[in-house]
């Protein structure tokens, strides 16, 4: 059904048949090339936003195109077209193959590639999963919940976004794989004011489903209450400490630590090129005993999940770190081939106009045995950070940051005053060796992450249990 939907959306409007594709493949991927693919994509997306209590603006966008990538050894030639037709494909293919001094092969027949047995999400169009009036109602509900939560709320901005992506990957040897990917997201940002002081809070979530995700269990209302709660906490926040101290990270979104400290450094491209601080360290201890981290593209409905990656490889759960030892990297096809291994289903791209590369899906740490209360009680003095903005890493030196947006001081085993947001900085290859307690409360984030690499953004997920780290640098302003 997905196959026929993808053909109907991507191939039929341009009158493209399997025979036509076979001749394009033959003309593009002849002798002298080492693979590549044609990536067909149709994206329709919408965004609705509410401000001052009114839904005043909304947008709808369509993108359609095909990207053709020709690989020869370590070289990649790439061209794309926003017209999906055989002549446009032949032209793009001719351009892309200019890197290879290759001969042509009459034609390469098209055949189905491997598919996932049970889909991780339904191919329904999220944009049509709710009518326009109900989308507006949903935003107004979120706004009303936030305003009712506290009289100090002065401003509420809410957004609702939906994307439907239809993807068809045709590999150089004729394997055809398709996927239809829904993705929805809601966000809320509130401003609170008290005695001339203003603070903000934000929350949100989403996943690969329709908009019913937000009405189930009133998630929209829960995001609104959460944003207000954070903003009110920040109204009381004092200056954050500066210096190296014990840090307890809450469960869920603080897993952005793993994404930055470990995740990027374990992507296959940086390791093949030897530019990652983790290059050549498979089998070595890079984390404390008890720490196991996986990248898992197979979690039903999650923001970072994919039935197949953008190279047509069925996604999997990949063990990155097992009981503290480095076990594996995340690979796409190109880097896997050049490293003598197999793709782990991590080949992703922002769109047909971008080249794929190894990227994370949902990256998280498996739970340990300690109760979160027990972990906090064990710290005499430190920082308890429960919410974060984004992070960034220098792959080569291994230094990474992530910025707390809700944090508290821990004094004598008790969580005391809230402190202002501060950036935490550490060294990827050793930060996890300083983990001294692992919570039993694994949580995944609510579905808000977007990872940027070389200018390409892709949706991802992160997660972790409560963690105690004995020594991270906290970038506040108050001498500790």
């Amino acid at each position: 059904m997905i196959d026929s939907l993808a053909r109907e959306t991507l191939l039929e409007p341009g009158g493209i048949t399997d025979d036509g594709l076979a001749s394009v493949l033959g003309a593009t991927f002849g002798r002298g090339t080492d693979g590549g693919d044609c990536y067909f994509q149709f994206i329709s997306q919408e965004g609705w936003s509410l401000e001052d209590g009114l839904v005043k603006s909304a947008s709808f966008n369509i993108e359609r195109g095909v990207g053709i990538r020709v690989i020869s050894g370590e070289q990649t030639g790439f061209a794309y077209s926003d017209e999906i037709s055989l002549p446009a494909m032949l032209e793009a293919g001719r351009t892309a193959r200019s890197i290879a001094s290759a001969g042509q092969t009459g034609s390469i027949p098209v055949r189905p590639g491997a598919a996932r047995d049970t889909a991780l999400y339904l191919p329904d169009d999220p944009l049509g999963s709710l009518d326009e009036a109900r989308k507006i109602e949903l935003l107004k509900h979120m706004d009303a919940v936030a305003r009712a939560a506290d009289p100090r709320v002065t401003q509420v901005i809410c957004s609702l976004a939906g994307v439907r992506e239809v993807v068809l990957v045709l590999t150089a040897d004729g394997e055809m794989v398709t996927d239809v990917r829904p993705l929805v997201r809601m966000n809320v940002q509130v401003l609170v004011e008290q005695g001339g002081r203003r603070e903000s809070g934000s929350s949100g979530g989403g996943g690969r489903s329709g908009y019913a995700f937000f009405t189930d269990d009133d998630r929209a209302g829960a995001y609104a209450r959460e944003a207000v709660r954070q903003a009110l906490v920040n109204l009381e926040a004092v200056d954050a400490p500066a210096g190296t101290m014990k840090v307890v990270l809450g469960p869920g979104w603080p897993g952005v630590l793993l994404h930055e400290a470990i995740g990027h450094g374990l992507e296959g491209d940086f390791n093949r090129k030897g530019t990652s601080a983790f290059a050549g360290r498979i089998g070595e201890r890079v984390a404390a005993p008890g720490i196991s981290i996986v990248d898992d593209g197979t979690m039903p409905g999650r923001r970072g999940s994919l039935n197949v990656d953008d190279e047509g490889t069925v996604t999997q759960q990949t063990t990155l770190i097992e009981d503290g030892y480095l076990r594996g990297y995340m690979q796409d096809r190109l880097n896997a081939r050049l490293s003598g291994t197999r793709s782990t289903g991590n080949g992703r791209r922002e769109s047909y106009a971008h080249l794929p590369m190894p990227r994370m899906t949902n990256t998280y740490m498996l739970p340990g045995a300690a109760g979160p209360g027990e972990i906090l009680a064990s710290v005499d003095r430190g920082l308890y950070a429960v919410n974060f903005g984004g992070g960034q890493v220098d792959i080569t030196s291994g230094k990474f940051v992530f910025s707390a947006s809700e944090a508290y001081l821990i004094e004598n085993g008790r969580v005391t005053r809230p402190v202002k947001g501060a950036t935490l900085i550490g060294n990827g290859p050793d930060v996890l060796t300083r983990v001294s307690m692992i919570g039993n409360d694994l949580e995944l984030d609510t579905g808000v992450g977007t990872c940027g690499k070389e200018g390409q953004g892709v949706p991802v997920g992160v997660g972790q249990p409560t963690l105690r780290i004995d020594g991270m640098t906290v970038g506040g302003t108050q001498a500790a």
Binding site: S57, F60, T76, A96, I136, S200, A353
Partner: protein
């Protein structure tokens, strides 16, 4: 045509923007071609108004059918959105009628083969600097030409072409303390103004090498000197804080700050949108409104905000021709004759910041905390490289605490500033 579609769907007013880009990018790594990318993008965006209600839609498919559907989508959305008294096209009197040629279009006849040769030269020059430079993330050459056209139902119609060409290189050096990566680049609208490829390669190598052996610092308060590339991001936080959206949403630490002293008395920041050949230049803004040179800060006092017509109406002000943002924001060097070396001497002992990572800026409160790397400076001389530290403060204090702006102005972006010396910030490390 697309505007006619919108009209025929019942729109009372509409604005359409069309862009078309063609480009080529090559990357060479360790002497071999790694990627050769041909770019070709087009997009049409439409905003339709039904009275005070608004809808927007865009498409990359330019078939008549797709354009018609896009117009219908914008109009359909506008029927659902609620009226906003401030919505609408700009006042036609504010729009540009004619405009100078800003010399933004300088196509580069750079076929793939020539780009590859140039990228090889860049990388080779970098590797030749020192045997410790033993790895590369590649050298890239890219060229891009764009055409953009804007029209609205008030009768505005304008368009222009522009080009942007870049050479960049990222190299990895290996030493006792591990590996360090750094990069260098040149970018310009005019290829004849790009720096020599070899110079970029050498600079990338030298920058990676000088970071080897970096250590942490102890936590302290000290003066901080930002090199121009980093100073740019400080000024970027200022322009975001005085943007119309941040003002009318009351989400700025510089709320209602016009007329107030935000920087030291000697400081001047101005916008030069009509500077010929500059990267931020444009003859009219994203709504067709005339762009004009003006002061944002005079004698340390904030003069005005950065407004499009919507934000202006909300604030009861007039548009400043900044739909799409500020253009060529320039910081006047002061005391005027000092480059980086002189500012290092002025600082004496403190931190020279050459790289920052992470977000860590809260525009609502001005709280600032970012990851940093650079050099510890003693008696005006670089002592040793430092990393894994943060710098923090509140931007209100940081801005007022600026002690000097260097004349080493970096013009490779939309914000043009020299090095900036700040009297004191908190550095967190060991």
């Amino acid at each position: 045509m697309i505007l006619d579609h919108a009209r025929s769907c019942g729109a009372s007013a509409a604005q359409a923007a069309v862009s078309h880009n063609v480009g080529l990018a090559v990357t060479v790594r360790r002497g071999e071609v790694e990627t050769l990318e041909y770019e070709r993008d087009q997009q049409m965006g439409l905003v339709a108004y039904f009275g005070q209600s608004k809808g927007a839609a865009s498409t990359t498919d330019f078939s008549p059918e797709a354009l018609r559907q896009t117009a219908e989508a914008a109009c359909r959305i506008a029927r659902y959105t609620e009226p906003d008294p401030y919505a609408g096209l700009p006042d036609p009197d504010e729009q540009a009628r004619d405009w100078p040629d800003l010399q933004l279009d300088h196509p580069w006849d750079c076929p793939a083969g020539r780009g590859i040769d140039l990228a090889r030269e860049v990388e080779t020059a970098g590797f030749a600097v020192d045997p410790r430079v033993d790895n590369s993330e590649g050298a890239s050459v890219s060229t891009r030409r764009a055409m953009s056209v804007l029209g609205d139902t008030h009768g505005f119609m304008g368009g222009y072409r522009s080009t942007r060409h870049s050479i960049s290189c990222a190299l990895v050096a290996r030493g006792d303390g591990g590996m360090q990566r750094d990069y260098a680049y040149g970018t310009s609208r005019d290829p004849s103004r790009l720096p020599a490829g070899e110079a970029i390669g050498r600079e990338a190598a030298e920058r990676a090498l000088r970071r080897l052996g970096a250590r942490k610092l102890g936590t302290r308060q000290c003066p901080v000197l930002f090199v121009p590339e980093m100073a740019r991001s400080l000024i970027g936080n200022f322009t975001r804080a005085i943007s119309g959206g941040a003002q009318y949403r009351k989400s700025s630490f510089l709320l209602d700050a016009a007329g107030r002293e935000v920087f030291p008395r000697w400081m001047r920041i101005f916008e030069e949108p009509l500077l010929p050949g500059a990267l931020g230049s444009a003859p009219f803004d994203g709504e067709g409104v005339r762009t004009r040179p003006r002061d944002l800060v005079t004698a340390g006092v904030l003069q005005d905000y950065i407004l499009d017509s919507y934000a202006a109406r909300r604030l009861g002000l007039r548009t400043t021709g900044n739909a799409g943002g500020a253009r060529n924001v320039s910081v006047q060097p002061h005391p005027g004759e000092k480059g980086l070396q002189a500012l290092l001497s002025d600082m004496g002992t403190g931190l020279l910041v050459t790289e920052m990572i992470g977000q860590g800026v809260n525009l609502v409160t001005g709280d600032y905390s970012r990851g940093a790397a650079g050099f510890w400076v003693e008696n005006g001389e670089i002592a040793y490289p430092v990393e894994e530290i943060t710098i923090a403060g509140n931007l209100r204090d940081v801005f007022r605490g600026i002690a000097a702006v260097g004349n080493d102005v970096d013009i490779r972006g939309n914000i043009r500033t020299g090095s900036i010396l700040v009297e004191a910030m908190t550095v967190a490390g060991d």
